[in-house]
């Protein structure tokens, strides 16, 4: 079991292998610019809180420059970071202009150092967590848990209303039932025919069937019956030669227009 703690460390292999200057460039191994910065910072071999951000910025820019010289493809976020670090460098090297809105170069550097330290802390923390004995791997729970007996006393929450309702329900079931059909509201063909005929004089151009419907009817069974009635009425008018119908394809809107009075006369 003493071999246990070292095991998870493989996960944390760093892409930088060499100690000396001939550092191996492998951007693929990094999870973004911050990860690369952290790796470079570790190479300074100092407490992260005492790190030289200026030196770090130089190392990063140098690293990217080499990567580009070697024609290694560099993702955009690395370049964004490079630009930002170059900016940070300039802010650190040049005297700060008193500007209340912008943080000073030192503040920016501090914030970056903080972020590196915080990420490093989380990495260490995750390693420490992994080194703990884990349930199901190093330590075990009871394999055959026993259910503790429970003595259940049922209680029924029933109110007087439920009781009476139940009685009424079952009584009603014994009684004869009547099916009652309520008067139905619908739009008759007679009404539709009347309406359509009245509107016919204004319908020289193609108009959709829907535009002939009474505007106050917008939905429900009444609307459906109005559509059906109007359509039937239109067929009647077509039969009489007073109306033309057109539908461009299956289920597409139905258009109608009045047949010009002249042609009616000519019939």
């Amino acid at each position: 079991m003493s071999d246990r703690p070292s095991e998870p460390d493989d996960d944390f292999d760093e892409p930088i292998v060499a100690e000396d200057d001939s550092l191996v460039l492998a951007l693929d191994g990094y999870e973004g610019p911050i990860d690369l910065l952290l790796s470079l910072a570790r190479r300074q071999k100092v407490d992260l809180t005492k790190i030289s951000i200026l030196a770090l910025a130089d190392q990063y820019l140098d690293y990217l420059a080499r990567a580009r010289r070697l024609k290694i493809e560099v993702a955009a976020d690395y370049l964004v970071m490079a630009a930002w670090l170059a900016y940070l460098k300039s802010r650190l090297l040049l005297p700060d202009e008193p500007d209340e809105d912008e943080p000073s170069g030192e503040e920016l550097a501090e914030a970056l150092a903080f972020q590196l330290a915080r990420l490093e802390a989380m990495r260490e923390a995750s390693e420490k967590l992994l080194r703990r004995p884990q349930l199901g791997r190093d330590i075990f729970a009871r394999g055959a848990p026993e259910e503790l007996p429970v003595d259940e006393t049922p209680i029924y929450r029933v109110g007087l209303y439920d009781l009476l309702k139940a009685y009424a329900t079952q009584r009603r079931r014994q009684e004869p039932h009547r099916l009652e059909v309520m008067p139905t509201q619908f739009h008759s063909m007679e009404i539709a025919l009347k309406r359509l005929t009245a509107l016919l004089s204004d319908a020289r151009d193609w108009r959709t069937l829907a535009s002939f419907l009474p505007p106050e009817i917008t939905e429900g069974p009444l609307w459906r019956s109005a559509v059906a009635a109007t359509f039937s009425a239109s067929l009647e008018l077509v039969r009489e030669g007073r109306l033309q119908l057109r539908q461009d394809s299956l289920f597409s809107p139905i258009y109608m227009r009045a047949v010009a009075a002249r042609s009616v006369e000519s019939q």
């Binding site: 009781l163 009476l164 079952q170 009603r172 069974p221």
Partner: protein
Amino acid sequence: MTDIGHWTRVVEAMLFASAIPLPRDAIAARLPEGVDLDAILSTIETAYAPRGVNLVQVAEGWAMRTAPDLAGDLTRAETVERRLSRAALETLAIVAYHQPVTRAEIEGIRGVAVSKGTLDILFETGWIEPRGRRRTPGRPVTWVTTPAFLDHFGLGSLNELPGVDELRAAGLLDPTIGTWQLGETGGGESEDGDAEDDENDDEFAP
């Protein structure tokens, strides 16, 4: 419980963590040669004998089990809320309104068979009880409601159960089925007559 040998601890942990009783051979297979397993099992058995958990030998092997004498103290009394089935509720109502009533009579009123379980559940609630027998062939048991029934439903006496007229007045006898309108649901409600002690009002509802 001091000076416990390493392999005793390992066997203890194995027995604890195993999902199934461990046959002696299965334990032995995981120990180095020369370890006296029988002595270990005996040690553990003795150590746990007075405790809340014991090492027991079952058909399949060795296992740790909570001590059987503790069952009573480990049992937790719990009240669970249950719903009365509709059948039970209707049966209860019929007993209340028609008592004393036999099972066959309840079935006659409900129009369906009443399972014995339904009466059992109601008996268990303490709301109904058998009282006497009909002087008819088979001498069937008759059922009545109990004082606990009156108590639970807040009734002073059976006379306080509302009559059929009152049920109707409260709208409880209104049929909700039997009305139909094109394309609409739940449209109109209509009155329905009561067959027994009311004149039938057979006109259509307004």
